[in-house]
Symmetry: C2
DNA sequence: CTGTATCCGCCCAGATACTG
DNA sequence: CAGTATCTGGGCGGATACAG
């Protein structure tokens, strides 16, 4: 990217991460951890392979990404964020939060991947009952299934289905996001097309509670 | 900007503010308040006038900016951030903080404007002695002079010179930024080419103190 | 003086095909 | 699996001309 040529830390930051796709690559690496080239590409629908290669090279040169040749049994290259790259997390977080109201407009052509729930889960969900036995909640939004685990105060997300989950949430991505971001209560979400089977208590355990809501309905306060 | 076509709040946010110059226009409007077209242009050295016009129109359509026809005596149009636009402040803040270590590389061709100190001042400086009489500190970095006022716990910045200031700091922009961001102590900054005349006490009153330092030297922790 | 519109040349983004 | 090579269109920067 052409430099802005301004001695200002915002401009300097944008000189490094202002290129198209760069921050989304960081998102993938934050959400997935060290990843193979092919996995990055499939997590970034719409990116051209040459652009991904270009960006990874630039990000490596800028010290955001390292490539690591995995040990013999795997025999592939992994891309991982450096510490400096990981420090972009607050930027992604602020951007993601600002973007929540925009999630109202869901277009049929929009791609959706279950792994993209990782950042919202980290941002909005919490285990409000850390002393109770762990629960798992399967989420089916879009094609892939993911499972959210609440265990001892921590909430995490793993990819894949789990028929033994305590609860299963099924519905279109916008309804799931509205529920997770706290802009819609569970009861209302169900009326709006979200199906919940199994333990509703397990779901309530992790949902954001009043006072922690994030104004995801577009009425966020300043 | 072409949409990423991804149902993810980061991607949606970048669909809106990912265009080149957009966030820098927000920076200007945050730092200066409602501004005339010409003032925006002079605060964004390097931007082409058509691009500025394009961006302002797009930002207006996206609900980030409003144009306001100023009352008769002024007879000009002012551009101001909407509430929604102002909510980008945390994004700018996170970006600016991440960019601080990049301020080490100062290139002679880099433009520098005094008003760009507004965000660093807000971010790093504080009035540590709110009960004492107000002080003003003139800063001469680059061509324009600015004055920092510490008054009753608040720190603010105004453009222009002030020969009656309690102290004056003169030096190259990188030295001033290093001082303000807390990565260099006042004594060290003076050894590195910063001139301080008048009350050093007034300067110390607003500088960041240990424990609030921001790792501006590139050693910031995760 | 302030703000907008038009033209041009260049580079980046994007799509596709292909290779180690 | 992990890219490179090639081609095309559009965004961008820059200059300039125009309108209130």
């Amino acid at each position: 990217m052409r430099s802005y040529g301004q001695y200002c830390s915002v401009a300097k930051a944008l000189d490094v991460i202002g290129d198209r796709w760069t921050l989304l690559i960081v998102r993938e690496l934050l959400a997935r951890g060290p990843s193979r080239y092919t996995d990055l590409r499939s997590g970034l629908p719409g990116i051209a392979t040459n652009l991904l290669a270009d960006r990874l090279r630039e990000m490596e040169a800028a010290g955001l990404v390292e490539r690591e040749d995995a040990p013999p049994p795997i025999a592939t290259t992994l891309f991982r964020l450096t510490d400096r790259g990981g420090e972009l997390e607050p930027v992604l977080s602020a951007l993601g939060r600002w973007g929540v109201p925009l999630m109202r407009d869901y277009r049929p052509e929009d791609a959706f991947l279950g792994q993209w729930l990782r950042l919202p889960v980290r941002m909005f969900l919490a285990d409000h009952e850390p002393d109770r036995p762990s629960v798992s909640i399967q989420v089916r939004a879009g094609d892939q299934a993911v499972v959210i685990d609440a265990d001892g105060g921590r909430v995490s997300l793993r990819l894949g289905a789990d028929p033994d989950a305590d609860a299963t949430i099924t519905g279109p991505p916008p309804r799931v996001l509205a529920l997770f971001s706290g802009s819609v209560a569970l009861d209302d979400a169900e009326e709006q097309g979200l199906q919940v089977t199994g333990s509703r208590e397990a779901v309530q355990r992790v949902l954001p509670r009043a006072g922690r809501a994030a104004g995801a309905d577009g009425t966020a306060s300043a």
